[in-house]
């Protein structure tokens, strides 16, 4: 491990501008670590080393000639492998996706990162079509949690999460339909932002569920997520769902000041569920206390019908996913991964009436949540009820337990997962801050305020002690 492995984007930017570090040095270090650990951790589907070094060299040349494209110039990033990126195939970790899908195309979000001078290291592992589970029989590496490789890194943005946590990338792009940014952020111990629906264009991103999908940043700190979001966010006409709401200077709003901000703690379901690990509960409440000590106001509240909302999110997600995949499921069942095809096929067991009712419930639930958020600036919940699950746990076990994530996809709200300590097992604990529509600045402000006085997000998993497996 070298000093540059685990820099935040903010720290690396300062070193790049002071001349203490070049992007080429930083990129080379991360590429070497990726080569060393990828067979073990399964973070990458494709590492675009040559192109990344060219981009890094160009960033350094720009710095030398006085050209500064902003805080992402020269910063090495990961791109989830359902997002189109020039120079690398998009596989969606599947044998089914047309190999030409997205070829020679940058998704708008990737184009923006490239324009900002970022170095794109490659395509990071996803659960197949952002829906399945790792299947060792498929021609893709199985992603592993860098804190304990017997544990799941969660999904579906597994690879970006692993890369950020293990020091293989300083940040990256994930997608979140029912928790796929926040789940990996929780399991791997870093920060992940599920943006407001429509905040970031999702064109040239393989869809999972079109009315729920979002593209968001993943990084070690809230500050880094703010820097990434400033480049990623904004209207693009190629996405009919994309909002024209102006992009804020998210990082500039991070002043550590939280006095008077009203935090709602929705106790029923989110804090009193029988499956909630007491260590997770204690970690989350300790962080809330930190924010209260800094002047925030914490009040117990309730989000009605939270369990039903989880179900509604599943009905919509599975139905919309099924609609996208139906023809390929019929024609190419065996080409899908073992657990992906059964997961998606479950969507065929819902009726048109079920889906229509889920849409009707969604409108009602949005009104209920809006009412709660009239009294509170944000809500805070545990991100997940437990720490990372066993990697070998029963496939599709996630259907059985509670989820604190999909409710916010259902109504399009922004939510950031923030490290909140560690359990006795050494695995990360995470809390989630939910805000009003397009209030990313508020939730990032609270997350950043917490990270100014805690160091959970800076902890480094013990990957350097891993036995290295070569391909």
């Amino acid at each position: 491990m070298t000093a540059s492995d685990h820099l935040t984007i903010h720290e690396a930017g300062a070193q790049l501008r002071s001349g203490h570090l070049t992007s080429a040095e930083l990129t080379h270090t991360l590429l070497e670590r990726s080569r060393l650990f990828n067979e073990t951790l399964g973070a990458w589907v494709e590492i675009t080393a040559e192109a990344a070094m060219e981009q890094a060299t160009r960033a350094d040349a720009d710095f030398s000639s006085g050209v500064d494209r902003g805080p992402l110039q020269g910063i090495p990033l990961a791109v989830k492998d359902i997002v189109a990126m020039k120079g690398a195939p998009t596989t969606a970790n599947s044998r089914v996706l047309d190999p030409d899908w997205g070829s020679d195309t940058d998704a708008p979000v990737v184009a923006r990162l490239r324009e900002a001078g970022a170095v794109l290291l490659g395509k990071s592992t996803t659960m197949e079509f952002a829906m399945g589970e790792p299947d060792p029989s498929m021609p893709f590496r199985v992603p592993r949690n860098p804190w304990d490789i017997t544990k799941s890194p969660s999904g579906s943005s597994s690879g970006t999460g692993i890369a950020v946590a293990a020091g293989l990338a300083l940040g990256g792009v994930g997608t979140d339909t029912g928790g796929s940014v926040r789940g990996p952020a929780s399991a791997n111990g870093h920060t992940g932002l599920k943006v407001t629906f429509g905040r970031v264009p999702k064109s040239s991103v393989v869809p999972l569920a079109c009315s729920l999908d979002t593209v968001g940043p993943m990084a070690r700190s809230a500050h880094d997520c703010a820097l990434l979001l400033e480049s990623m966010a904004g209207y693009d006409p190629s996405d009919p769902d994309c909002a024209t709401v102006s992009v804020e200077a998210y990082s500039a709003a991070l002043d550590g000041q939280v006095e008077g901000l009203r935090i709602g703690l929705p106790i029923p379901y989110f804090f009193d569920h029988a499956d909630l690990d007491p260590q997770v509960l204690a970690g989350v409440l300790a962080c809330v206390d930190v924010l209260v000590d800094r002047g925030a106001i914490s009040v117990n509240t309730e989000v009605p019908h939270a369990h039903t909302a989880m179900g509604a999110n599943r009905v919509i997600m599975m139905s919309e996913a099924y609609s996208y995949h139906r023809n390929n499921l019929v024609a190419r069942w065996s080409d899908y991964g073992r657990y992906t095809r059964t997961a998606i096929a479950r969507g065929a067991t819902f009726s048109a009436g079920d889906l229509a009712q889920a849409y009707r419930f969604r409108r009602f639930f949005a009104s209920e949540v809006a009412e709660v958020l009239r009294c509170h600036d944000v809500l805070i919940t545990p991100t997940t009820p437990t720490t990372a699950s066993d990697a070998e746990s029963e496939p599709n076990a996630w259907l059985q337990g509670p989820s604190f994530l999909g409710q916010w996809n259902l109504v399009g709200l922004p939510a950031v997962a923030v490290p909140a300590g560690f359990a006795a097992s050494g695995l990360p604990i995470s809390l989630q801050i939910i805000g009003r529509p397009f209030a990313e600045s508020t939730i990032l402000k609270l997350a950043d305020a917490l990270q100014r006085v805690t160091s959970h997000h800076l902890a480094v998993p013990p990957v350097d002690h891993l036995e290295v497996i070569t391909a």
């Binding site: 869809p207 009315s211 019908h305 809006a370």
Partner: protein, 95 residues
């Protein structure tokens, strides 16, 4: 409905097996209507979770819901005095 089958056989030890068979038949019919020819062991996985997912879908009909569904859902309308023209949702993405 699955609940009817289960309730009617509450005192009959033979009924749970019949209920499982009934669920399997329902799932097989749904998958067949979708033209999905699935190996038995994989169909059994879907059967296993069917009651759980069915109960979650049924719960939506027991919960309050908006009585005036719109053609285009705007999740943010309740948060604003008037619906924004710039934050629409619910149209399919093509790729």
């Amino acid at each position: 409905m699955i609940e009817v089958v289960s309730a009617s056989g509450a005192d009959d030890p033979a009924v749970p097996e019949r209920a499982d068979d009934r669920i399997a038949s329902i799932v097989q019919a749904l998958l067949s209507s979708a033209q999905l020819e699935i190996p038995d062991d994989e169909r059994d996985e879907i059967v296993r979770d069917y009651s759980l997912l069915r109960s979650q879908a049924d719960a939506l009909f027991a919960a309050p819901s908006d009585v005036q569904p719109a053609m285009r859902f705007n999740p943010f309308a309740p948060f604003l005095d008037r619906p924004p023209a710039d934050a629409s949702a619910d149209s399919a993405q093509t790729s």
